[in-house]
Symmetry: C2
Subunit: 652 residues, 2 copies
């Protein structure tokens, strides 16, 4: 059953847990990034983002004067434009939630500059406008040209959704037409596709807005042509005399998911952000066309990620090398790459899968990623960021051993390649669109975020209010308001972590059926109906599948959707010497003043005693333990105090 997400305009989040994160995005990340885009951050390397557009605009319109020397070269990475795009997208979502005329004016001013850089034929990429248009679309594999195109398309669509203003959207439709003239199956066109995906899902979104079949066809072309023989990237490299990137790697062209047709790709491979963006686009197209073979690929890939290559935090992409997926059950905790953007990409994919078929597993993964491996990417003041989100950190290793070189023990202020912070901004600013979906005579709730939504069910507006202190507290109220009674199925996800729950309607038992991880209540709903749901939320000790080598003999501590970790700040060093044992004093407690308010877990475990002796090896199986009071904090909040060791998985 296909369903639709709720427009951001129709939902307001007011949630103990999430509102502070969204406020950090609004009050800290978005303003900070605008300064970064304009190279006004003291002590930080310039991003060149807006400067590139100004230079490109002056080249196009010599009469303009943005106060920038238009003989300067392009600055920053070749994908620098995408940072600007992601910022506009995040700002758009933020404005829906919180009108801000000044921010709106700022974005408008940026859009004016951007549009002035557009070429007569619609082309719009500062790297090639500044460096020479004759080389445009000659290195699709690595130069992120269609990636920037896709991100700007998404920015334009978000801005249009937020403000109704079409300037940027029209510009991007012109750019889309330009791309459409150049790419396609016809002999006089390029048979290429993005080296870094995102345009696919952007074009699917554009099609939903324009209903222009041309836009759908272009999205389909990029997906269908991908990995078809003869392999475009091989030919492109030959033409330009370049060596093939990743030729000597495990994945080859599958780094780009471009080594074989997408319908023959049944497990996730290669660069995890690229991969999840592609899969999201595939799911979008499968949703529109209903094509089974594309859906089969999506399902198979999803199953593999969810059941074979997913960290308990919702992070994906195990390998720093290639920022990539590896293989089944390979989930190293300490060398994990687990890029923030990859977990965000997985959330995009999950959202799309959930709207294809309402199954609880999609919301389970989405929730796992959102409450853990995505927000771990940001400090609690919204001012520092992780690219890499390991599940175990041993600081000396990170400083001195190569396999850990990518692992930072403190969040960084900003990055030269600043993909993760604006990606965090856009997903958190658009969180409202992940909560419910609605379809024919049906509403599904995937996430339990306190919010007020207006949902159209068969032409009638239903108002749905969620209240509660999830994930710290287990009870959730859902109230329904409407002008007249309405018959429809209401389904709420039964979280995968939940072994036991109760639900009451207006204080009484209510009959429901469970299907695919949802509790479904099919009835005539009346104004004021209220569901009281209680998901039993004890502290849980979670084991990984026995084939996960790195977690063999270990256990993770969770409560509700929150994955916990031990930090040196609370527990001293030598976390790898700690054993859970079978504690009988497990407690949890909300601590308002700790880490912006978190529920901590405590119990007495065991710790192998250190020895003050020199011998590296000794003839003894004996281990000397001491009782060890343990204090666990939510994983997402790690590294917000004194840097030190951290671990999610501990010995049983």
């Amino acid at each position: 059953m296909k369903t639709d997400p709720i427009s951001l305009k129709n939902i307001t989040i007011n949630d103990t847990f999430w509102t502070p994160f969204m406020e950090r995005i609004r009050l800290s990340v978005i303003p900070y990034q605008w300064e970064a885009l304009n190279d006004r951050i003291e002590g930080a390397a310039p991003s060149y983002c807006m400067r590139n557009f100004k230079i490109a605009a002056q080249l196009t319109h010599p009469e303009l004067d943005y106060g920038v020397d238009n003989t300067l070269g392009h600055g920053g990475c070749m994908w620098q434009d995408s940072d600007t795009a992601k910022w506009i997208e995040a700002a758009a979502y933020s404005l829906i939630r919180h009108p801000d005329p000044e921010l709106e004016k700022t974005v408008e001013s940026a859009i004016e500059i951007i549009c002035n850089a557009q070429q007569p034929d619609g082309y719009l990429n500062t790297f090639y406008i500044i460096k020479g248009l004759e080389n445009r679309f000659t290195n699709l594999q690595d130069n992120h040209e269609l990636y920037c195109f896709g991100h700007f398309l998404e920015a334009a669509l978000a801005w249009y959704e937020a403000t109704g203003k079409r300037t940027l959207l029209d510009a991007m439709i012109r750019y889309t037409d330009c791309v459409d003239r150049l790419f396609g199956p016809e002999k006089n066109k390029l048979q290429g596709y993005p080296g870094h995906e995102v345009a696919e899902m952007a074009l699917a979104w554009l099609y939903r807005v324009t209903k222009d079949e041309k836009h759908l066809r272009l999205a389909q072309y990029f997906i269908d042509q991908r990995g078809q023989p003869p392999l475009y990237f091989e030919d492109e490299a030959k033409r330009s005399g370049r060596g093939m990137a990743w030729a000597d790697s495990y994945f080859g062209l599958q780094y780009y998911q471009a080594g074989k047709p997408v319908r023959e790709q049944f497990v996730p491979e290669g660069h995890a952000v690229r991969a999840t963006y592609l899969y999201s686009g595939m799911a979008d197209i499968a949703r529109i066309t209903g094509e089974k073979s594309l859906l089969d690929a999506c399902n198979s890939i999803w199953d593999n990620i969810a059941n074979r290559q997913l960290y308990i935090t919702g992070a994906i992409g195990q390998s720093a090398y290639g920022e990539a997926f590896t293989f089944d059950y390979d989930l190293p905790n300490d060398t994990a790459y687990a890029e923030t953007c990859a977990a965000i990409g997985l959330a995009f994919f999950a959202k799309r899968m959930a709207s294809l078929v309402p199954k609880g597993q999609y919301g389970d993964v989405l929730e796992r990623a959102l409450y853990n491996g995505i927000i771990s990417g940001m400090s609690l003041d919204g001012k520092a960021f992780f690219y890499v989100n390991p599940l175990e950190v041993h600081p000396e290793s990170c400083l001195k051993a190569q396999p850990y070189r990518h692992v930072k023990i403190e969040r960084q202020k900003w990055f030269g390649c600043a993909c993760c912070p604006p990606n965090l901004a856009r997903i958190l600013a658009s969180l409202g669109s992940y909560i419910h979906t609605s379809g024919e005579k049906a509403v599904f709730t995937h996430l339990f975020i306190s919010s007020e939504a207006t949902i159209n069910v068969d032409g009638r507006d239903i108002r749905l209010v969620i209240t509660g202190k999830y994930p710290w507290e287990s009870n959730i109220s859902i109230t329904f308001s409407m002008n007249e009674p309405a018959g429809f199925t209401y389904g709420f996800r039964i979280p995968g972590w939940c072994d036991n729950f109760s639900v009451k309607l207006n204080g009484n038992t209510v009959s429901f059926i469970t299907k695919d991880g949802f509790a479904l209540i099919d009835r005539e709903w009346h104004n004021g109906d209220s569901l009281e749901i209680d998901f039993a939320m004890p502290v849980q000790f979670v084991s990984a599948h026995p084939r996960v080598r790195e977690n063999s003999g270990k256990v993770a501590v969770t409560r509700g959707p929150i994955v916990y970790c031990l930090e040196q700040a609370d527990n001293g060093d030598g976390l790898y010497r700690i054993y859970c044992g079978q504690p009988n004093d497990v407690q949890f407690r909300y601590e308002e003043d700790l880490l912006e308010g978190v529920t901590t877990i405590s119990f007495t475990g065991k710790k192998e005693k250190d020895r003050n002796e020199d011998a590296l090896y000794r003839n003894s199986q004996e281990t000397v333990y001491e009782d060890k009071p343990l204090r666990w904090i939510p994983y997402y909040a790690w590294a917000n105090r004194t840097p030190g060791e951290m671990t999610v998985w501990v010995k049983k």
Copy 2:
């Protein structure tokens, strides 16, 4: 108390364990390598080794004709000459043990060609002779020129020791004089030193033979000048406009042990083979000069290696990146580099430390390396080799995950950079010199290898015969023969692994004192005296220091000096799910037909059951175990059957 190793000419090994290894070197490795040096191995890339010398000789003597086109360029790596040198050295040792006129003639023919390549001023390096002498000694840091010099000096000294023939030695003394004219503190000389050490210990050996102070001074200069400001390698790189190698690494110039003066180096750093070769040279010089500050550095480095950075197999050099040491207690099993050559380098260092002061710890480490991490580098047929000697192997990781990319699951036939096989050849062919040392009125036995030695004690020859089936059996006989009674101290190492031993002299108790890991018997020895020693050799379960993160909660199985491992061939896959438990059925058994004859260990452990279910995570601390009969084989013999998983350390 300083002691001297016994000359190879005065000892014959006839040992159940070692003789087969030495025969593999003699019958397989040395002949095979000669074919490799001459590019006659079908299917293997040419080594160019002898061809380089032939070309270089023809350039020097245009009237010569070796049937090689002398306009061809230099082939192979810039250090290719060292392979030829190591082969000559191994052949020399082998000829002492086993005269072979044909092999001797072959070596002579090689020496003739090599000497014909020598330049009028003594210089002898095919890379620069062929590529242009004007560039010689312009890239000491990376071009291995003084490394090849050092190896050839060792080859010449070994050949002289074996045959008494001086041709190569004289040529190398001329080369030494050439180097001596170019390097030194004088203003008109280069203030440089080897980028890859070995010349230091070679020059010390040369000095022991020639007693020429100039040779000692050159060795000292290379050691003393190393790492002195201004840093030679930095200046050299600047002069030639090169970038600094390893500038962006953890170690910088300490990769070469060249970032600070050697007397300020107290922990091992950088490339482990380079490092141990330097430390060996430092120990040689400290022995000759008795200088305390140099000895202090050796002692401190030794302590750190032995007690902080030594694998239980005697392997060192944890990091594939830089083939290097890392930091205290960092001993990853599965990503270990643990190069065969580094363990050999450690044996060189241990041998020298043992002759400086007779302490049991040196023989302990030597024995650990020899019986485990060195010979694991060679297949049991002597035809395939490991560079890298991991302590845990998970084949799929090695094939698909970057941190394991250096780990091979099968020994390779030969290598493009073939440093390890000839290094194995020369240490195994010279094993006799590691067994005893003798000093003033004292003989010390460091290794219990069945052998007959003639040892000069205060001008009188003592014949010392060791018999036994060590390491498979625990009892050892040592008999003394001599023309007339002699008073001296005889000391035998009490192995560090041994908790309990008995010793009898001629069937009766004998009084001894224990000191620094030796049992010392000070008496007047008579012809026919016989010691019966029994080192209790039960199966042991060994724990690593609690700070070794990777071995926390794990145990290794050993018996005597032999470290054991589990292989998939005997125990199925999923070795990481195996637990030792507290077995009460531990047995060991010599199996003559297995792996060329090994003692295996067996007992019933536990294994976590696999699960045929999809869920990657489940709410359960419960582990379902099954009894699991385990069969352990000696670590050195792993990977001689079907490739698969292997592990040394298992959960307790």
